[in-house]
Symmetry: C2
Subunit: 344 residues, 2 copies
Amino acid sequence: MNRRASITDLAKALGLSASTISRALADHHDVSEATKARVRQLAKELHYQPNPLAAGLRRGRSNTLGVIVPHITGYFFPEVIHGIASEASEAGFNVMICQSNEDAQQERQIIELLMGAQVAGILLSLSDTTTDFEHFEAVRQQGVPLVFFDRVVQGFKGTNVTSVTLNDYLGAYQVVEHLIAQGCRRIAHFTGPLHVNIHKNRHQGYLDALAAHGLTPDPRLTAFCELSQQGGAAAMRGLMRLSATRRPDGVFSSNDLAAVGGMQVAKKLGFRVPEDVAIAGFSNEVFTQLTEPALTTVDQRCEQMGRTAVQQLQKMLPSPGHTPATPRGIVLKPKLVVRDSSQR
Amino acid sequence: MNRRASITDLAKALGLSASTISRALADHHDVSEATKARVRQLAKELHYQPNPLAAGLRRGRSNTLGVIVPHITGYFFPEVIHGIASEASEAGFNVMICQSNEDAQQERQIIELLMGAQVAGILLSLSDTTTDFEHFEAVRQQGVPLVFFDRVVQGFKGTNVTSVTLNDYLGAYQVVEHLIAQGCRRIAHFTGPLHVNIHKNRHQGYLDALAAHGLTPDPRLTAFCELSQQGGAAAMRGLMRLSATRRPDGVFSSNDLAAVGGMQVAKKLGFRVPEDVAIAGFSNEVFTQLTEPALTTVDQRCEQMGRTAVQQLQKMLPSPGHTPATPRGIVLKPKLVVRDSSQR
DNA sequence: GTGAAAGCGCTAACAA
DNA sequence: TTGTTAGCGCTTTCAC
């Protein structure tokens, strides 16, 4: 069980210096093609594998990307991570996944951990209990590229900071426009607390789409509820008990789960979906294809978001023949997914 | 922007040698308590952070765990990864997540990558196109702990190799027993190809449970189908068209998706679930709570599997005051989750 | 209980 | 085009 081959070994074997080997392997332009060929040849023979730990130590920077998400469960984050991991691997990065468990304290610790491990960059979706942003200072100041995705810190700028988000406003606008096109005139909206960005934006998209088509938003049709199956069910129960003229003929829920809860209640109360009430959700979760009828929703381009985040990160990284730049925040276009729950 | 504090810095500041600092920080027994206190004190003041790259280089081993999964999508793998990441983080490991994309070739490359990065251990769920196991030889021979989870290589043994799996047989047995207890007498089974382990085991559990309760398995009630929504739908259509005496009054599907497909068809054909036909799936996917009626299924203990895998790995790792051992393969007990689709 | 010395494998500035 | 030198930060003998 002999030691794995090192650059020094190659150097000795070929009667060259370690630096030349190093340069040859890195395909440096000022090494003769002949030498490169010899080096590569031997490297292959000896199954030479670079030691990233040593390279990282020397360079003061590893080739690992740190990823911080609130959690690795549910639909959204795994999909985004899938995108991140795929793109990163294609670009030659490793990925370290960390969960903040929606806890600002843990988020802080993970940042320290990643900075300690000298990651090449950090991809981060904010914990929802994070209220101060002190811990990002170190990242910014040390020039480690930082990309916020989905949950961003508004107004946290820097030459090495950017973001990738979804245009929630547009997504909401499109769903509501679609519902109007299907003949809905009294469209309700299930929403979470409006101080949360995504809900604020989706709500605004809802309002603006109505207005743009000459419909006056009725505040009684905006249901603030917990966006769970139960929450959606309760909200729907309240709405469908209204008199026929005040009852909604369409519902746009700020997430899929509440939409399903609502749909189940509507059916139970004897209303037909979509004929009596058309329903749409938001996120394109897996189960939206399985409901009866299948749920119209908005696709969040999760994988795309992950890939884009890595691409943005790379732009901020110095590399041969490319000076780091600060890309502007990217806002992804959502995609309306029309299914039976809204088509009539 | 001054350099981060190193052990050398601490040494200078305290008039001690680097070795003493290193030992103090590692809580070595032959450093005086007084010195330790002084060192820890200063370390805190200077925000000293160990450099894992340097330590790894020196030790020839990093503190990172490599994880290889076929993909990071769907329900199962993200949940397991969640468990792995949580447990690993509590034990002070970082986790590097890699996807083989169900491709043996990529799996091989990732193994090389991880070995190159000198990971402390590897957690692996086999790609379904992997047929030769040559690439695990290097891992076994270098003594890097290897834990297979869920999808294992039968008969690949070694002092540094173990596995964590689910008792599929038992899960199937329990569901079928439950269906029998609910009064089902003609129970059908949706299965995938029997050369795949999980299906073989679930099928056997199904057969044995029937036999144990005096029911003779009818081969015509075993439906080989694609385990998708469409596959389940097609299978159910075939079965429910049989004459009343040959028609099943219960269905156990080898996965949840096909169970849902089947349930939708049964309802469409005018059968009541669970009264006319009780239905159960396998995996406890999220959407099983959302169907109407909610689907009875078997929980696979995903997170537990991840946590257990990390624990098993740790047992094979040398550490102060503990000699590495080879744990036996762990087989987790599944958990029957009874919901409305089977309760009558 | 502490220190001195050596070196893990690599890279980059500088020299030739 | 190639070599020399030095050192990244840490751990671990071995010596005192």
